[in-house]
Symmetry: C2
Subunit: 296 residues, 2 copies
């Protein structure tokens, strides 16, 4: 039995976080590397693990879309990402070749779900939906304690939702679908629609009423398809004070009593049903470490 | 070991089908009873099984919403159904009291999925989505061979989808949400919008282009959330000749290459990915029988 620690990578569109530790409570090293080109970014990632190793194995929490089907010849390749230079890149293959250790792969959203389920706002909830609203919208589900995956990982951000009358002139920002959920409700959509970022709009701006309605549409849809016992909604956009309350209120109105269960029958119950994450921005990297530990 | 056959009930909004048999290939008795009031309908159901018994156990495939959580005090009760006289009715309790045998419960859509998975268009596909478009829209998913259930069964028909410009004046027919997916795309929505039933419209009516777009929106949403390996779309509305082809074409256009996988990259592949059921209207009652057999 080895006494080496585990490694974790959260590969994101803006930065790669790399950590080494034996458990979530024992992170020995952590660095953040800006995401530029694959070769520039990954040479620094490899250097970090080579200089601070050896590690037992590595958990890789990757932005997507990424091929997670182990039977596919493209397993571990990024697919239709709009991220410059990364489309089609063999992320897993590159790291395996350079580091020559076991690497376990899931999406960054799946890792965040894993961490929130084991340590955070979803503890003990085996039917759990985690949604992140930031540069895009992503989601991951646990069903009876197992990750929901089929043909590939979930892509809930690209659902189609109603476009609001007062937003008719806005085209949406999704490179593939224009005004899908992510195209209407991600951080970049807020910035494009209002001419400044969500942080700079102020909490009284009417942007947030619109945002809350759009978020509620997508959350209700994902709820009706997966029927989770709790929904965690995180990501940078959700840091805006009071937004979660507006989202809950809209969900309550939209469901209109159709789901006749105690978790959803009043706003007080919804405060326990639709919650913010409790691990903040560290959930992805913690989940990646825990993936390595659980698979080794 | 008993040599008694099994019983199956498909409890629908228009009729209750009751069958007795040892397997799907050996149905010994079957009757159809119109759905009127609970007492009138169910006294005939009970009479059928009493006169033709004994049976080993009973599978109950019920219309919904129905409480399927065994831990709930309302287990087996119909909940927010708009069906006159049935709201809140303890369907499972009534049958258990009168028949005094083991009864296994799932939704009619789950039973249809079960039958199509074991005998029909979804054989060998363990990540499978079944959708039925008729008096309402319902869906059920297998994830790694297990039914997707959490807080309750899935309710995909009530997702919110974009409303088409040319349909702006139509309010939708859902009693809870007006213009949710079911409110815009179920059989009753077609009849209300055009003034006659789908069957009477003729296959060249432009109703079908609209219907195909709406169905594609909801199917794409359910696809992105559950990522099945195959989707079966059945129900009365899908019997309209050529509709499935129009639906496939719209799904293809809407996805716009985002899901970069062989199953979805061209229309020929989509013909195998999105299919009609192969068991027709008998899938519900066959699934109910198979539920009884598998649980006994």
């Amino acid at each position: 039995m080895s006494s080496n620690p585990y490694g974790g990578i959260e590969a994101g569109g803006t930065k790669f976080s790399c950590a080494i530790g034996t458990s979530p409570g024992d992170i020995q090293q952590i660095i953040h590397i800006p995401t530029t080109t694959p070769s520039e970014t990954l040479s620094k990632v490899v250097e970090f693990f080579k200089n601070n190793g050896p590690i037992e194995s590595l958990g890789l929490a990757a932005f997507g879309p990424i091929e997670i089907n182990k039977k596919s010849p493209n397993y571990g390749h990024l697919t239709s990402t709009p991220k410059e230079g990364w489309r089609g890149f063999d992320l897993l293959g590159y790291l395996k070749e350079k580091l020559n250790i076991s690497i376990y792969l899931e999406t960054d959203v799946q890792s965040a779900l894993r961490a929130e389920h084991l340590l955070g706002a979803g503890q003990g909830i085996d039917n759990l939906l985690y949604i992140t609203v930031g540069g895009g919208i992503g989601g991951a589900s646990l069903v009876n304690g197992h990750l929901l995956e089929g043909l590939m990982h979930q892509e809930i951000g690209h659902m189609f939702i109603p476009k609001l009358e007062e937003d008719k002139s806005f085209d949406g920002v999704c490179h593939f679908h224009n005004d899908c959920w992510e195209g209407l409700s991600s951080g970049p959509s807020i910035e494009t629609r209002w001419g400044k970022s969500g942080e700079d709009l102020g909490i009284d701006h009417n942007a947030w009423e619109l945002e809350a309605k759009y978020l509620a549409y997508g959350i209700v849809n994902a709820l009706l398809v997966t029927m989770p016992e709790r929904i965690i909604v995180g990501g940078g956009v959700m840091k805006n004070e009071g937004l979660i309350d507006k989202v809950r209120l809209n969900i309550y109105k939209m469901l209109n009593g159709y789901i006749d269960l105690p978790s959803l029958t009043n706003l007080e119950a919804l405060e326990k049903y639709i919650v913010l994450p409790s691990l903040g921005s560290s959930s992805g990297i913690l989940g990646a470490l825990m993936l390595a530990r659980s698979e080794s």
